[in-house]
C-alpha cells in the first residue's frame, strides 16, 4: 500500500513537472515572438515563404490566402518593416513583378513560432 502510494505520487509529481515545463516553455517562447509577425495571416505568410525558399510572387500569396489587396499589402509592409521579409522587383515576361522572400531574421522567427507550437502541443499532451 505504501509502495502504491509512493508510485502514484511519483507519477503525479513527474506529470506536474512535465506540465510545468511545457507551460513555462510556452510562455517563455510566446514572450520572444515578434508581436508584429504574430497574427494568423502574417504567420501563414511567413510559413509559406519558409516552405518556398525561392520566394513567392504577390499574386501567388493573394490567391493562396484569399484576402483583400489592402489587407495583404498591410501585412507584407509590416513584415518588410519588421525586417522579416524582403521585397524585390523582377522582370517577368517584360512586366515588373514583386517577389517576397524570407530574411534570415524571418527564418529565425518561423523557427521560434514552431518552437512555440511544439511547447503548446506538449502542454496539451501533459494535460490529457
Amino acid at each position: 500500500m505504501v509502495i502504491f502510494k509512493f508510485v502514484k505520487s511519483s507519477i503525479i509529481l513527474s506529470m506536474g513537472t512535465v506540465l510545468d515545463d511545457a507551460i513555462r516553455s510556452t510562455i517563455d517562447t510566446a514572450r520572444l515572438l515578434n508581436k508584429r509577425s504574430f497574427t494568423i495571416d502574417r504567420c501563414v505568410i511567413l510559413v509559406l515563404l519558409y516552405c518556398c525558399s525561392d520566394g513567392m510572387q504577390y499574386r501567388e500569396l493573394k490567391s493562396m490566402l484569399a484576402i483583400s489587396d489592402g489587407k495583404l499589402i498591410a501585412d507584407l509592409t509590416a513584415l518588410v518593416q519588421a525586417g522579416l521579409v524582403r521585397k524585390r522587383t523582377e522582370l517577368w515576361d517584360n512586366k515588373s513583378l514583386d517577389v517576397y522572400t524570407l530574411d534570415e531574421y524571418g527564418i529565425a522567427e518561423v523557427e521560434l513560432c514552431k518552437k512555440f507550437f511544439d511547447a503548446y502541443q506538449k502542454t496539451q499532451g501533459a494535460c490529457m
Partner: protein, 193 residues
Amino acid sequence: MLDDLKTVAAVLKFFGFTGWEPRNDYVYRFNVQKIAYLCKVMGIRLNSYDFSIYLHGPYSQALATDYNACAAIVNVDPRDQSNDHAFSGGEREALRHMKDVVFSNPLMQAHPAEFLEALSTVVFFIINEDDYSHDSLVGKVKEIKPHLSARILSIAVNVAKELLISIKPPSAALVDELSAWERMGDGLDKDTQ
C-alpha cells in the same frame, strides 16, 4: 542529388535555356523548376526531385535546396556550348520532342515564364488526375493560378496533350469520344458526297 542537378544543367544547355543574370535570378529559377518538372514527366532521370503542385507548383523543394547550395551548376553561361552529359537514347528522343513541341512555340519567346507555368500545371493535372477535358483543365488551373490568361492556358492545354501523347496514351473514355467524332465525320463525308 548533385547528379540530378547536373542533369538539369545539361537539359538547360540542350534547350539553349541559359539566360541567367543576377537581376533575373527569381524568374530564371522559376523557369528551371518548370523545365525540370516537364523533363521528369518525359522520362529524364531526376529521381531525387519530387514535385508538388499547391505551393508555387509544380515545385520541388529538393531542387531548390540543391541549386541554392550549388548555384554555379545551374546558372549556365550562354557562351558555354559544351554538353558532355550522357543522356540515354530514349532521353535524347524525349528532349528532342520537348524541343519541337515546347521550345519552338512562339509563347516561349513572348511569355516564357507564364507559358511554362501554365504548361507544367496542366501537365500535372493530366498526369495525376488523368483529366484530358479542355474546359476542366482550364478550370482547375485557373482556380489555383487565377493570374494566368485564358489565351495562354488554352494554348498550354493543347501543347500539353501534344507533349504527352508519346508517353501517356489517351484514356479509354477519350479514345471512345474521338472514335465517336470520327464516325460522325465519316457520316458527314458521306452526306456531302
